[in-house]
């Protein structure tokens, strides 16, 4: 390339990502978070299958502050990926491509993820 000063687009350090682009990269990030989270959940399941004693040894960690942060983070990532995934499914069958609609469904997906997270947390608190 002879003209190395030529601006490239989109310049990710300067260009302010629109909400949809931000949600798009967040979808990938939450996907990776969920994959690693599932690793931990399967490990807990395997410990529970191993013996009651082994499970009781790790049970306090689930109720600890870092356990609660992990669970809350996992649940929010799950619902955000879930809601944005449903948004993707609508696009896949050809609906919701208009710019205003794209923006509305982005905000709707985030709002639904927050509501579902709070609802799950409330159910967990009541139980």
């Amino acid at each position: 390339m002879s003209n190395s000063n030529h601006p490239t687009s989109p310049h990710l350090q300067i260009y302010r990502l629109p909400l949809t682009a931000l949600l798009s990269i967040t979808h990938r990030i939450t996907g990776v978070i969920l994959a690693f989270g599932c690793l931990l959940l399967v490990w807990i399941l395997a410990v529970a299958a191993d013996s009651a004693e082994a499970y009781q040894a790790i049970e306090p960690h689930l109720g600890s502050w870092y356990g609660q942060i992990f669970l809350l983070g996992f649940i929010f990532s799950l619902y955000l990926h879930f809601c944005n995934g449903v948004r993707h499914l609508f696009w896949d069958v050809g609906y919701g491509f208009e710019l205003e609609v794209v923006d509305i469904t982005a905000k709707l997906a985030i709002a639904m993820a927050v509501i579902l997270t709070i609802a799950t947390w409330v159910v967990a608190g009541v139980a």
């Binding site: 990938r28 599932c38 299958a49 009781q56 049970e59 449903v86």
Partner: protein, 126 residues
């Protein structure tokens, strides 16, 4: 533009990756299956006390065992497909990409198997 593709390759429509839209299609089907399963597992686990007896007793119900195994298989299949796309997009070195893809696929297969076996072990009360 001259089209260098043979009539056979055009009619098959499988492209350079040799599997056409099959990856895309599997990703969508697994996500559709997970819509009810994710809502079910999220709220069921939230409503459950986390002690060992309650947890295993819940898993031992036949329909829970079935739904859980289904969820685990579909989840790790979906995860494998998703991680594959991310790795293919961001790891440009061909040799490194191949190794990371193999490790990622193996990890998903292994975790899915551990999950299914754990559910079965609890379910059969071993």
């Amino acid at each position: 533009m001259t089209d260098f593709r043979s009539p056979l390759s055009r009619v098959k429509g499988l492209g350079s990756a040799k599997d056409g839209t099959s990856h895309f299609w599997r990703q969508r089907l697994t996500s559709l299956l997970m819509i009810p399963l994710v809502l079910w597992i999220g709220f069921s686990l939230a409503a459950l006390p986390v002690d060992h007896a309650t947890l295993t007793g819940w898993i031992q119900q036949t329909w829970v065992t079935i739904a859980l195994i289904l969820l685990i298989i579909v989840t790790f299949y979906h995860a494998q497909l998703g991680l594959q796309v991310i790795i293919e997009d961001y790891v440009s070195s061909h040799s490194r990409r191949t190794v990371i893809l193999l490790l990622s696929n193996l990890a998903c297969l292994l975790l899915g198997t551990i999950g299914v076996v754990s559910v079965l072990k609890i379910s059969f009360g071993a």
